[in-house]
Amino acid sequence: MNLTASYSKKAQLKIQQMAFVLAAIIIFFAIVSILYLSISLRGLRGAASSLNEQEASELVRKLASTPEFSFEQNDCSNCIDLDKVLLLKSRQSYKEFWNLDFLKIEKVYPSQASLECEKSNYPDCSTITIIGKEDFGSPKSAFVSLCRWEQEKGGYTKCELGVIYASGKDIN
């Protein structure tokens, strides 16, 4: 007995057509999904980055009154205790404390040659970098008074003009 199956060529063509349409639909949806995901991911990154910048901006205004920075001997809301900050620089525990990638204090008046402060050259220096990661966004700044103990003339508190810079965490 000889058994043979006969297929209609028209039906075969239709199945092929359907398969192609199906493949095209899947590819279309995949492209649309990838496009949507990449756009929304970019938006999300932008939003996260902007929130971090906003946090840095709010924080920089308040840092002078935080206990690690504040000059507590007199009622001065914008005074920073420079002696305390110099010692804060070497404390590793504070590196992640403020959610910042960059935190620096710079003496602006009286002007001095740009020199990072260490215990050995203090106070004849101009900057104290507390947090200094290699990549950081545009830092926000605020003017502050930098107060420290000056041992000359029997000892007194000396305050100078400075700027505090802070940049939020990079999300990448």
Partner: protein
Amino acid sequence: MMNKRGFEFSFAWLFAIIVGAVIIFLAIYASTKLVKTQREVQDTELGKELGIILNPIETGLETAQASKISFSSETRIFNECKTISTFGSQRISTATKSGIGEEWQSPGEQSTFYNKYIFSESIAEGKDFVTFSKPFEMPFKVANLIYIWPLGDSYCLINPPGEIEDEVSDLSLDGFSIAAKASECPQDSKKICFTGTGCDIDITLDASKKISGSAKKKNADRVYFESSSLLYGAIFADSRTYECQLERLMRRTSELSGLYYSKSAFLAPKGCSSNLEADLITYANQTLSTNSSIDIRSIALISENIRRRNNELNCKLF
């Protein structure tokens, strides 16, 4: 004779129906997921924003500061405190009420802050919230404590000490009232007894003039406080959150003691000697080992001694 005319259900039809159904199902599934994810993203952003706007609320030189936070819709604030890492962490997340899909879904991703101390119920729900901030000093300023409660909640202080009464009146804190006895309190208010027991929160003050003692909420453990800032913490936070935040505060106190120790040693050769180094080291060790609010009394004694000795100095350390 049979009617041979009829609808021919060809393969093409069958195929189209199955594929169409799958596509529609996937579209509905994807859009539901998309809405859920979008809500989660919004809740996550809201949690972070809340943490950021709490920065200007914190005090500088002020002794206390109060303000209001309004959300666009009914919101749940999830306050979680963790003691992992050097300073522990404050985690904030939010969930907003929605008319589409689930009314409340699980909160967005937590935003972590190491420098914040929020005292509230672990889940606070409302559209408007009252925030109140006070510095915590022991003996130097350690942090700003933030208290949050929904605008609708009311608290009735029965026979509070003068300091607390003055502060509540001066700041016109929303939802706070002062009464001489429980029967004078507004209905549905949480009653806080400073003398006697049987209230929602029973406060037992020590005989000293300072704000010091313990607080016991119904069905919760007793917690101990020193200073008015911690007293408010004991009122607004549940006992678990309170104990956790206090442990975090003690760790920061320990770090700050270490910083002041370094400052003292650094300035001594420059003619600004405090002779507080030994006390600061003891204080740093004691505060670091604190894991229960009951230890706060012994810590307060050392703190008071350091405060007194610092005040006597010509060249003050803090």
